[in-house]
Symmetry: C2
Subunit: 434 residues, 2 copies
C-alpha cells in the first residue's frame, strides 16, 4: 500500500499520523534552538526594507472592504477578491482562450482590474485600459514562453497570466516604469501552476493565484520593493527554469498592435474538442440542411487526439454528454441550446429523439485536420448531402461575435441581467457590477 | 537602449507608457466582449465547489486579528502574518540552513506554526510537534528534489519549503490524511521562487511566500478542496517540471529518524563562505594560538568558488567587510564579536590594528577542500605554527550549540530578551512572543 501511494499521500501520513512520542526525539532539542534563533534573527531584521515593506503591505490590507466578490455582498481586500474571483471565473472552464499560449487570459486579468478599479476609485476607461494591457501582456509573454513551456507541464493560464496580472495591476495602481519593472520581475518568483492539476479544483484556483500574485507584487513594488530585472530572460530566470522558448518575435509591434484581439470565446458548454464540430454543424443547420426527421446520416471528422477526450459513443450522464460528439450533434440538430449549462443532464441522454439522432452519427478520424478543425457532413433521406469544414482559428466577424456573446450571457445569467451587463460594459461609464 | 533592456523593463514600458489613444483600437471591442463573457461565466460558476471554497476562505480571513507580526502590535490573519514574518526572518540571511537541500527551513516553517498556533489556540507542545513535522518535511522533500533542482535556478528554501509549510499547517489545523494529501498536492501548484532574485528583496520574500502558501492550501483542503495526489511525483508533476531528481532514498526512515537534526545555524553575521574559516580560527584563538601582537602570518585555504564570493582583499565598507576573509580574520583575532550585526561598519575597515592584522593574511585556493571546509594556519613570531581544519558539516555537540545560540540571540536582541525567549521556548508551556 505504502509503496504504491503517491508521495503526497506518504507525506500526509507522516504529517498527520506520526505519533507524538516519535516527535520527542533528539531533533526536538534542535527545533527549540531553531525557534530561538529564528525569533532573534527576525526581531533583529524587522527594520530591513524587505521586512518593513512586506509587513506594511499586509497591515494596509487588514480589514479593507475594497473589492467585490462573485457570490457575496461582503467586500474584501483586492488580493483576496482577485484570488476568489479568478477561481470563480474559471470554475466552469467556459471562459475565453488564447491559442497563442493555450491560456485563458480574461479569468486572470479581469479580476485584477475589477478589484483594483474598485480599490483605487478608477474610472471605467482606466479599467479597460489596464485590462487590455494585462490581456495583451499575458498573451505575449505566453507566446514568448511557447509550447515547450506548456508541454512540459506548466499551466500557462497561471504562469504567463501572472505577468499580465502584474502589468494590469501596475497600471491601475499608477506605478512608474521602474516600479513596474520590479513588479514584473518579482512575479517571476510567484508565477506557477501545474497542468497535472487538470481535472481537479486546482485548475480554476490557478487563475485566482495568478490574479492575486499580480496585485501583490504591484503593491510591494509601489512601496519600494526591489527585485532582479533579469528574472524573466536572464540567467536562472523564469524562461531558463521553466522551459521557455524565448520567442522574441512574440513582442514585435507591442504597443501598436494587439494580439489579444484573436482571443476565442467558448459558445458551447461542453468540451472544447466538440466546438469546431458544433460550429460546422451549426452552419448546416442554419442553411436548412439538418431537419431532424429527414436526416439519414451525420458524420464528423476530427483529429485523432479527441478520440480519447470527447468521443463517448452512448453517454448516460450529463457530464458524459459534454464529452460526446454523437450526443452533442443530436442536441444541436434538435434545437437544444448547447451554450446553456443545464442542457447537459442525465435525463437528456435517454430522450428517444436524442438517442435516435445520436445513433445516426458516425465519428471519423482524420489526422490531416488540425486540432482546431472539424468536418461535418449531413445527408438527408433524399440523398442530398452537405459538408462544412470549420476551424476554430477562423475568427468570427465582430458583429457575429457580439451577437453570440450576448446570447451566451443571456443563457447563463438571464435576459435582464445580461442586457444590464452589456449596456454597462459598452458605455464604459461606470465599473461593472459583479 | 530598448534592445539591451531586460524583458521586464520592456514590458513595464508597454504597461505604463502605452498612450491611452493606442488602447482605443479594435482589440478594445474584444476586451468589452471578454469582460461580459467573464462576468457572465463567473456568475454562473459561483456555486461550483472550487469557487465556493475559495470565496469562503477569503471571507473567513477577512478582518481576523489572529496572528502576531514581528514589528507591529496589530494582529492579522494567519496567511498574512506568515508572509510578513517569513520575510522578516530571512531579511538578514542569518537564519539556519540545511545542506541536505541548501535551504533555510526555519524561516519558512516557524512563521506557519506561530501564526496557526495563535489562530487555533494550540498548546505550545503542538506547535513544536508541527514545527518538527514541517522542518523535517521541507528537508526531506528538498533532498528528494536534489541538487539538480537547485542548480537549475529554483530557490529550494521556498519550493521545498512550501511542502513543509503545508505539512505543518495541516497538522496544526487538524486535517486528516486525505485532506492533508490534498493540501500537499495543491501546494505543488504554489511552490516557487527563483535564485535569480538572490541579492534583492526577492530572496527573503520567498520565505514568506512559502509560509503563506502552506497555510492557504491547508485552509482550502480543510474546507474540501480537491487536488491531484500525483502532483509531486506523477506525470507533469512538480519533480518532472522542476528538475527534481526523485531521490527516493530521501524518505528512508521518515517518521522514525529526523534529518532536520543536522540543520546548521549561522554564528557569524557575514557571508556563509567565511564561516568555516572563522570556526577554524576560533579554535586556534581559544587555544591561545593567535595573540594579536605576536602574529607573524595567518593563512586560510578554501575552495576556489569563494574567490569570487567573499575574498575582498581590502574592504572599505561594512558591506564589503562581510565578504572579506582577510578582514573577518583580523576582527576575530582582535576579539570583535563576529556574530553581532553592528560589528561590520565602514569605520572598522580603517582601524589601524585591524588593517595591520588584515595585511598579514594570505588567502590560498585548495580545490581538494569541500565548499564547507577551510584550513587556517597562524604562525607567531617565534615560529610556532598552528593549523586547524574545519568543516561546517562537522556537527557541534548539543551543549556547544546551545551556548552559541544563547550568545547569538543575546547579541541580537539583548541579554534580558534573549533569556526570556530561551526560558519560554525550553519550557514549552506557552507560545513564544514575537
Amino acid at each position: 500500500m505504502l509503496g504504491s501511494a503517491t508521495l503526497a499521500a506518504r507525506l500526509a501520513r507522516f504529517a498527520v499520523s506520526t505519533p507524538q512520542e516519535n516527535l520527542q526525539c533528539p531533533a526536538r532539542a534542535i527545533v527549540h534552538l531553531s525557534m530561538i534563533d529564528f525569533i532573534a534573527v527576525a526581531r533583529a531584521g524587522v527594520d530591513e526594507p524587505v521586512a518593513r515593506i512586506t509587513r506594511e503591505m499586509v497591515l494596509a490590507d487588514e480589514g479593507r472592504e475594497d473589492a467585490s466578490l462573485f457570490g457575496s455582498e461582503v467586500r474584501v481586500p483586492a488580493r483576496a477578491a482577485a484570488l476568489a474571483n479568478g477561481a470563480a471565473g474559471h470554475a466552469l472552464d467556459y471562459d475565453d482562450t488564447h491559442f497563442a499560449y493555450v491560456g485563458h487570459p480574461s479569468t486572470v486579468i479581469m479580476p485584477v482590474t475589477l478589484a483594483l478599479a474598485q480599490t483605487t476609485g478608477a474610472k471605467a476607461s482606466a479599467l479597460y485600459d489596464a485590462a487590455l494591457i494585462g490581456l495583451e501582456g499575458a498573451s505575449r509573454v505566453g507566446a514568448w514562453l511557447g509550447r515547450a513551456h506548456y508541454q512540459l507541464g506548466f499551466h500557462s493560464t497561471a504562469s504567463a497570466g501572472s505577468f499580465g496580472a502584474a502589468m494590469s495591476a501596475s497600471r491601475l495602481l499608477g506605478l512608474n516604469e521602474a516600479q513596474t519593472t520590479h513588479a514584473i520581475s518579482l512575479v517571476a518568483s510567484r508565477a506557477s501552476g501545474l497542468k497535472s492539476q487538470f481535472g481537479t479544483m486546482g485548475k480554476p484556483y490557478h487563475a485566482g493565484m495568478a490574479a492575486s500574485n499580480g496585485i501583490e507584487v504591484a503593491l510591494l513594488a509601489k512601496a519600494g520593493f526591489i527585485s532582479r530585472s533579469s528574472a524573466l530572460d536572464g540567467e536562472q530566470g523564469f524562461a531558463e527554469t521553466h522551459a521557455g522558448e524565448y520567442n522574441d518575435a512574440a513582442f514585435e509591434g507591442m504597443g501598436e498592435t494587439f494580439i489579444f484581439e484573436d482571443v476565442q470565446h467558448k459558445f458551447h458548454a461542453c468540451c472544447h474538442g466538440l466546438h469546431a464540430c458544433l460550429e460546422a454543424l451549426g452552419r448546416i443547420i442554419a442553411d436548412g440542411g439538418a431537419v431532424p426527421d429527414q436526416i439519414e446520416m451525420m458524420s464528423v471528422s476530427t483529429n485523432s487526439r479527441f478520440m480519447r477526450v470527447c468521443n463517448i459513443a452512448s453517454p448516460t450522464t450529463g457530464l458524459e454528454a459534454k464529452f460526446s460528439f454523437r450526443l452533442a450533434m443530436a442536441l444541436a440538430v434538435l434545437g437544444y441550446d448547447t451554450a446553456a449549462l443545464d442542457t447537459y443532464t442525465d435525463e437528456i441522454c435517454s430522450v428517444p429523439s436524442v438517442v435516435g439522432l445520436r445513433d445516426m452519427v458516425v465519428v471519423n478520424v482524420d489526422d490531416t485536420l488540425a486540432e482546431t478543425e472539424s468536418v461535418v457532413t449531413v445527408r438527408d433521406k433524399s440523398g442530398v448531402q452537405k459538408t462544412v469544414r470549420y476551424d476554430l482559428n477562423d475568427l468570427l466577424p465582430l458583429a457575429e461575435k457580439q451577437a453570440r456573446i450576448a446570447a451566451k450571457s443571456a443563457s447563463l445569467i438571464g435576459d435582464a441581467a445580461a442586457q444590464h451587463l452589456w449596456d454597462n460594459v459598452m458605455a464604459e461609464q461606470t465599473l461593472p457590477i459583479l
